[in-house]
Symmetry: C2
Subunit: 131 residues, 2 copies
DNA sequence: TATAAGCGTGGAGTGCGCTCCATGGTCAAT
DNA sequence: ATTGACCATGGAGCGCACTCCACGCTTATA
């Protein structure tokens, strides 16, 4: 498929797609050579790849990190060992982030309780929830 | 305290502190007037405020959002009603983010299982984990 | 009093992640 | 053959969150 259809399916602006291609995050096929079709051609897997990038961004990765991660992933594509390591690394970082959020959540909920109960004793201290 | 001591206690570079002041996120006292001390003076609560900013950033808020949130918070400082609303809003957004992370985590763990078990059946699909 | 450390201001620069635009090539339909 | 939609490239610009620098003033210490 051509870039505009791909962009629609991926839910991203065309410019962003091109930006990702320039960064090496997406690698559409090229059909130039002879002189007929100088357009970039996208496969259905590329849509999945684009979705994956968006997901990874939501998880707090920069495009640079995503590129590195995905390249490592590709490098070990035929080694389950390596793939498992990469996935485990992602899971680990994700869990760290979740823990930070849990701490923040606990703090906010603690504060809510404190206010609701008429503020007895000292206010919950942020420091007590940080690790 | 003066800015450098404050920066040390807050765990942020002096330049960043000044940047936050310029943005209205921090409001140190001013002791100029007569002509003696033209320096910004920070109170211990300001350290807490700075930590709070860092926390909010970790939770994915932009400085603009943090400013708005904190101002609303201050505006309703003497209304428990309002304070509770603001905190609940933060909790809600936080839980949304957590859910997104849980979905990602489930996807990654699913993939791990699939690889470990010798890849029977189709690979876990990202779409099945998105909401 | 000289000097050095610290402070404030203004402005430029940086890296990231886009976003927009001008130019020009390609292609399908008329 | 012309039109119009789509494509590619290169480069400029933008908002965010800093970061760095030059300048000049203030204050503590020698």
């Amino acid at each position: 498929m051509l870039i505009s259809e791909f962009a629609r399916k991926a839910g991203l602006p065309v410019d962003t797609i091109r930006f990702y291609i320039a960064k090496g995050l997406l690698k559409p096929d090229r059909a130039l050579k002879g002189g007929s079709n100088p357009y970039q051609l996208f496969k259905p897997e590329d849509v999945t790849a684009a979705r994956m990038i968006k997901l990874q961004q939501k998880l707090g990765y920069t495009l640079g990190e995503i590129l590195a991660l995905n390249e490592e992933y590709r490098a070990g594509e035929h080694s389950s060992e390596r793939t498992i390591e990469v996935i485990q690394l992602q899971i680990e970082r994700l869990q760290h982030r979740k823990e930070a959020m849990d701490a923040a959540l606990a703090f906010l909920l603690g504060k809510l309780d404190w206010i609701r109960s008429g503020k007895p004793g000292p206010a919950p201290r942020l420091e007590d929830y940080e690790r």
